[in-house]
Amino acid sequence: MVNENAQQQFKLHLPGLLTILSENLYTTRKVAIRELLQNAHDSTVRRRVEMREPDYTPRITLRIDQEIGWLTVRDNGFGLNREEIEEYLATIGRSYTREMRDDPSLSWLEDATSLIGQFGLGFLSAFLLASDVIVTSCQMQPDGKPGQTFRFTCANDGHYVVTPVDQGEIGTVVALKVKPEAAYILQEPTLVAAVRQYADFLPVSIFIEGDPAPVNSLTPPWEQADVHSATLDYIRREYKLEPLFVLFLEDANVDLGHDQMVVPLRGFLFIPPSSVASLHEYGDVRVFVRRMFITDRHKTLLPPWARFVQGVIECPDLELTASREDLHENDTLLFVQQAIEMQLLAGLNHLAKTNRTIWQQIVRGHSDVIIGWAIKDNEFFDHVRDIVTFRTSRGRLTLPEYLQSTDKTLYYVTRENGTLQEEVLAESHDIPVIDAKWFSVEPFLRKYAELNHNITVVQVDGEAEYFMRPVSSEPYKHLLAYYQARGIRVQVKAFKPSSMPGIMLYPPDVEFLQETRQALDSGEFPDPIANMVEGYISRRNVSEEDLRGTLSLNASCPLIDQLSEQSTFSNSHTATLDIVYQFARLFAGRTLNSADAVGAYQEIIDGLEALLS
C-alpha cells in the first residue's frame, strides 16, 4: 500500500538531463575547448603541488585527426585513478577542483586557488563537439611512477564503461569523436583561435601537435615585466586601435559601511579614440577569472556613464554562472563594480588635472556619449562642462570657445531638416549655431546655462524672425501688393546677409501640419480618430495660408530696394519678383513635394527666359 504522506524523491531522467546540460547550457560549441583545457590545466596544477618535482614542465597538446574526425587533448598532469574517474568524471555536479579549493585543511591551499574547475559540469560540454568520448588516464603514484591506466568510454546516453588498459604515460588523454555539425573545430585555425580566446593566459603551454611553439601567450600583459608596453601591444592586437589613455587596475579597498574589504583586481581600462552615441558605444570589459576567459563585452562592471571606456579585468572573486559564460549579479559583483568605478574616477580626475591635452582628446572623441551621461550625473558634468565639444556651424567648439563669439548666449537648432536658412541668418550676425539635434545636447546647454546665471539659451529653428529688424512697409507697398495679388502672404523686414532678397517663414511643424490636414481632408483616418486629430490641429490654430508660408522680403537687399522704387512692374520686374519668391521657397526646402519643386524651377526658368528676351 502506498503511504501518501511518505517523503518522495525527485526522479531524474538522465538522458534528458544530459542533453540539457551538455547541449543547452552553453551558447557556443567552442566552449567545450575551454572546459577540456581547464580540466587539463587543473590536472597539471595538482601534479605540480602534490609532487613538487623540480624539473616538471606542465604541457597540454591538442591533436587533430581530420581524416577520421577525432580531436585529442593530452596533458601530462597528475592523472586519475579508477575511483576518481567514478567519483568525479562520471558524477555530474561533483567537482574535484572545487572540493580542493574549498578544503581549508589542504596544505597547498595557496596553489589550490589557481584551480579553475567549479561545477562538475564542464566535462559534459565535450558532447557539444563529440558523439563519443574516450578518456584514458594514468595517475602518478607517490613514488613518481605511473599507476594503472584506465579507459573511460562514454556516449551521450548516460552510460559509460571503465576498463583497465595497457600501461600508458602519466597524465590524461581525452579523445573526442567530433560530430559532423561540429567538424569546423577540426580546422586548425579555428581550433587555435578557440584556444587563444579561452586560454591565452593559462600558465601552461598549449601546443598543437607538430608545432614547436605554444599557441597561447601564457602571461597576461599586467604580469609582464614591461606592463605598459605589453598592455599597449595587447590593445592594438585585440582591439585594433590606439588608446587615448590606459588605466591599470589594482587591488582596491571597498567600504562596506561597517567594515572594509579588499577586492583583488588586475587588468586595465582604456579609452578608444572615439565613439558614436547609441551606434558605437563601449562601456564593456573582457573578463578573466583565474586567467580563464569568461566573457567578452561584459556591460555591468563599468559604471553606466563610462560608455567611452573599455577594459580587460581579472578578478578571482567573481562568481560565475553554471555555464561560466557570464557573471552572477551578486554582492561580489557590486564590490567589483565599486572598486572599478573608484579607480576610474580617480584616474580620470588625475588625468584631467595633469594632462589636459589627452583629456581634451578624450572629451572631443567621445563628446556624444559624454554629453549624454553628463546631464544625468552632476559630478561628471562638472568635470566635462567646459571641455566637451559641440558641433556648430563653425566646426567643433567647447562652450567657452563658442561663447567668445556670442556674448553670453547659446544659439542652437534642433530640427532635422530646413535649418540652413536660420543658420545663414545667424552667421550673418556673426553668430555660430550649435547643432542640438542629438537628444541630449539641448538639456546639456540648459544645464550649463542654469549653472552660469549670466548665460541664456536661444533656440533658433522656427525663430528666424529673431534675426530680423522691423521696417516700415510703406516704401514697399507695390511689391507687397504684387505678391498679395498672387495669393502669397508677404512681409518686409531688414536682415543680414543683404545679398539674400527674401526667405520663407513657416510655422513650427509645418510639414506635419500639412500632411495631417491632407490626410483629414482625404478621409484617411477612421472618424473617431479623425475627430481627435482634428481637435489637436484646430488647437494649433494654423490656417491654410499659414501653411503656405510667409515670404519675408529683405529691406537691406539692394535688389529689393531697387524693385521697391517701381510703382508699376514691367515683365522683367515681375519675372524678377517671381524668381525671388521661388528661390526663397526652394532655399527653405520645406513643404515642397516633387510637383511643387518642379513648378518652382519652371517658374524660375520662365522668369529667366523673360529676362533674356
Partner: protein, 354 residues
C-alpha cells in the same frame, strides 16, 4: 500576432544578425523598462535613443514601438502631459499609412491618443473619447493584448464621467477577463476600489484592495501597490480598525516616498480621504497642496482642476481664506474645453456648507 510576439521575433532576428546598431536599438528599448518606476526620465532617454537608432536604420515599426512606450512613460510614470497630445497625434498620423496596416501596436497608439484626451479633459472631450473607445473595441481581435487595454480604458472613462453602476459592471468583467493576466488584473482592482469608494462600500473596498495588493506585489506594480495600500487604509479606517488603518497608511506613504516616478491622482485622493475621514482636515489639505505642487506645469488640466476644487472645499471647511484658491480653479478651468462642469462644482462649494 500580439505586439510582444512581434518584438520577440524581432529580438531573435536581431540577436542572430549580430548587427551592432540593431542590438543597441533593442538593448536601449529593453533597458528602459527597468527604469520606468524608479527614474522615468532615464526610461524616456533610453526609449528616445532606441527610437533615434530605429529612425537611422529606417525601422519604421520600431520607431512607433518606442514612440508608444515613450507615451506610456509620459502618461503613467512621469505624468507630464505637456507634449503627450502632440506626440500621440503625430504617431496616429504616421500609423495611418498602409505600411503599418499589420503593425500590431497600431491600436495601442490610438489608445495613447485617447488617453491623452482622457487624462487632460475627459468631460470636455467625452463624446470624442466615447466614440474612439467604441472604434478601438471594433478593431480588437481576440489575439491582441489590446483587448485588456480597451476594457481598462472603458472602465476608467466610465468612472471619470460618473456612471458608477455601469463602471462596476465593466470593472467586474475586466477582472474576469484578466484573471490570468496580473498586469491588467492589478489595474482592474484599482478601478473596483475607486468604485467602492464612490459607493462608500467599505467592506468591498477592503476586499478588492487586499486582492489587488496580492496581485500588484506578484507583478511588481509598485504604483498600483501604493494605491491599493492607501485604498485599504481608507476602507479599514471606515470599518473601525484604526490601528490597522494607520499601519496601512504608513506602509503606503513609505512606499510612495521611495517611488521614483509620479503617483496618480487616486493616491492623493485616497490619502486625503484617509485624513479627512479621521477628522484631520488640515492634513487632508496638506496632501492636496502637495499634489498641486506636483501637478503644476504638467498639463494635467482636469486633475489640476479637481485638486484645486478640493483645496477650496477643505480650506472653507477649515475656516481658512479660500478666494485665491477659487481663482486658481477658475484660471485652471479655462484650459478645459468645457469648464462649466468644474465651475458649477466650484459655485456649489462656494454657495453651500461643505
Amino acid at each position: 500576432m500580439s505586439v510582444w510576439d512581434w518584438v520577440m521575433i524581432q529580438r531573435i532576428a536581431i540577436s542572430n544578425s549580430g548587427d551592432d546598431a540593431r542590438i543597441a536599438m533593442d538593448e536601449r528599448f529593453r533597458s528602459a523598462f527597468k527604469f520606468m518606476d524608479e527614474d522615468p526620465d532615464m526610461a524616456l532617454d533610453l526609449l528616445s535613443q532606441s527610437r533615434l537608432i530605429a529612425q537611422e536604420l529606417d525601422e519604421k515599426w520600431w520607431v512607433q514601438l518606442s514612440n508608444h512606450w515613450e507615451l506610456q512613460t509620459l502618461l503613467f510614470y512621469k505624468r507630464d502631459y505637456n507634449h503627450v497630445l502632440e506626440k500621440a497625434v503625430k504617431a496616429a498620423v504616421e500609423v495611418r499609412k498602409p505600411e503599418y496596416e499589420n503593425f500590431p501596436q497600431r491600436i495601442c497608439l490610438h489608445e495613447d491618443l485617447i488617453y491623452s484626451y482622457l487624462e487632460s479633459d475627459p468631460i470636455g472631450y467625452s463624446e470624442q473619447i466615447r466614440s474612439a473607445i467604441e472604434y478601438m473595441e471594433s478593431q480588437v481581435t481576440p489575439d491582441l493584448e489590446c483587448r485588456f487595454c480597451v476594457s481598462g480604458l472603458k472602465t476608467h472613462f466610465t468612472i471619470l464621467t460618473g456612471d458608477i453602476d455601469l463602471a462596476l459592471d465593466l470593472a467586474l468583467k475586466y477582472v474576469e477577463q484578466s484573471e490570468h493576466e496580473d498586469h491588467y488584473l492589478s489595474s482592474a482592482y484599482i478601478y473596483l476600489c475607486a468604485i467602492a469608494f464612490a459607493r462608500q462600500d467599505w467592506q468591498k473596498m477592503k476586499d478588492w484592495a487586499l486582492a489587488g495588493e496580492v496581485v500588484s506585489r506578484r507583478r511588481n506594480r509598485e504604483n498600483n501597490l501604493v494605491e491599493m495600500l492607501t485604498c485599504n487604509a481608507v476602507a479599514t479606517r471606515c470599518l473601525g480598525d484604526e490601528k490597522e488603518a494607520l499601519r496601512l497608511c504608513q506602509a503606503a506613504t513609505q512606499r510612495a516616498a521611495g517611488y521614483g516616478a509620479r503617483l496618480g491622482a487616486r493616491y492623493y485622493q485616497m490619502l486625503a480621504a484617509y485624513h479627512e475621514l479621521g477628522g484631520d482636515l488640515k492634513k487632508a489639505c496638506q496632501v492636496r497642496d502637495r499634489q498641486l505642487h506636483e501637478i503644476e506645469g504638467t498639463a494635467r488640466h482636469f486633475v489640476e482642476c479637481q485638486c484645486r476644487l478640493e483645496i477650496v472645499r477643505l480650506r472653507k471647511a477649515l475656516g481658512l481664506p479660500f478666494e485665491d484658491a477659487a481663482d486658481g480653479v477658475r484660471t485652471a478651468a479655462k484650459r478645459l474645453k468645457e469648464p462649466s462642469y468644474i465651475l458649477k462644482q466650484l459655485e456649489s462649494y462656494l454657495d453651500h456648507d461643505v
